[in-house]
């Protein structure tokens, strides 16, 4: 058991749950995408995130075993926890909405995700560094895709521009949580396990600003953010949407415990 295991477990759940919940959201587009090609592309992104979630949650189970003697499996963590035990950021549990809403959510997440993974790839924890390094390549493609769609829709027709601007505005207040460092973040960044969030926030604002400029969209100026005062998704406080998402995602394991195929 290492000195940082307690914050590390918390951090791994945050990383894994955020990937898992967004993967579930993206999976809901399957069969509903605007065209077949987008359908498959979104499924691919979702599956990339699901793969990363499995690695983070698998490691979380090992750290939990070091702390408590027994650690839960990735399936137990994914299917047998209730909403307050989930540690994903609130941004990713927001509903799919129209394609603009899905792409705005993805734009905000993908840029933060890539910057975070690039920092985590330099972690002093070898497992964290290895998992992050694998995810960086996937995240680079995700960033390219969502940025491109936001530009196409923002700089598209009057209707696509209006919808894209609305989605960018609506989801903006959920972005503050991505960079709000609490005691867990500070303990781990001081120990060199995770990168400091302040420089990531600055880089994120720069990248998002560039995309929005190219998309002829106005960058939201609001500073009020959800999940303030360390009462956000990372601390287990969620919006009404997560419970519904989990009900669907967990139904099978809850109704038929241990079912597999």
């Amino acid at each position: 058991m290492s000195a940082h295991d307690e914050p590390l477990l918390e951090c791994l759940l945050r990383l894994g749950d955020t990937d898992l919940v967004l993967a579930q959201r993206l999976g809901a587009w399957i069969g509903h995408g605007p065209v077949l090609e987008e359908d498959i592309a979104l499924a691919n992104v979702g599956l990339d995130l699901l793969g990363q979630a499995r690695l983070w949650l698998g490691y979380a189970g090992e750290v939990e075993a070091r702390l408590a003697g027994r650690g839960r499996s990735e399936d137990e963590l994914a299917f047998l926890r209730d909403a307050p035990a989930f540690r994903n950021v609130q941004l990713v549990e927001q509903p799919n909405g129209d394609y603009a809403a899905t792409m705005a959510r993805q734009l905000y997440f993908d840029h933060a995700h890539l910057l975070l993974l690039q920092g985590l790839a330099r972690s002093c924890d070898e497992r964290v560094a290895a998992i992050a390094a694998k995810g960086v390549k996937e995240a680079q493609y995700h960033v390219e895709r969502s940025s491109d769609w936001v530009v196409r829709l923002g700089d598209g027709t009057d209707e696509s521009h209006a919808r894209m601007q609305r989605a960018i505005d609506d989801l903006w207040p959920y972005t503050g949580e991505l960079f709000a460092a609490d005691a867990v973040d500070v303990a781990l960044s001081d120990a060199g396990v995770t990168p400091a969030l302040a420089p990531i926030e600055a880089a994120w604002h720069e990248a998002i600003g560039a995309v929005l400029d190219e998309a002829t969209l106005i960058r939201p100026s609001g500073t009020w953010m959800h999940g303030r005062g360390h009462r956000g998704g990372k601390q287990g406080v969620h919006t009404e949407h997560l419970g519904h998402l989990l009900a669907e995602m967990q139904f099978l394991q809850r109704a038929y415990p241990g079912a597999s195929w």
Partner: protein, 109 residues
């Protein structure tokens, strides 16, 4: 009279205007091999056609390179021309390298 006929008569210009054009996709599976036609897809322009091809046709590690070309830019031989185009080659066995006997001394040809 079918409804479709009425509708298409009502919009004579580009009835499929709203649809993305079709692209043919070619994937090179490894270095040294030629690009091979794998299928087609819809996309509004070339960069997105390449990205869509990546997502639709290289999910299982199939490729190292992608070409896309607008299906409208592909010109094909007419099926009705098959006999004059291809049949004359049938009886010209000397065009195959195996037609010519090679001396035993020549190996690895």
């Amino acid at each position: 009279m079918s409804k479709t006929a009425v509708q298409s008569a009502a919009m004579p210009a580009a009835p499929h205007e709203a649809e993305w054009p079709l692209w043919e996709v070619f994937i090179r599976s490894q270095h040294g091999l030629a690009h091979k036609h794998v299928g087609s897809l819809h996309a509004p322009d070339a960069p997105l056609a390449i990205r869509n091809a990546r997502d639709v046709y290289t999910r299982r590690n199939e490729g190292v390179s992608i070409w896309v070309v607008r299906s409208a830019d592909v010109h094909a031989s007419a099926p009705g021309d098959r006999e004059p185009l291809f049949d004359p080659a049938n009886d010209k066995v000397y065009r195959h390298p195996t037609f010519f006997p090679m001396p035993d001394e020549v190996k690895h040809l």
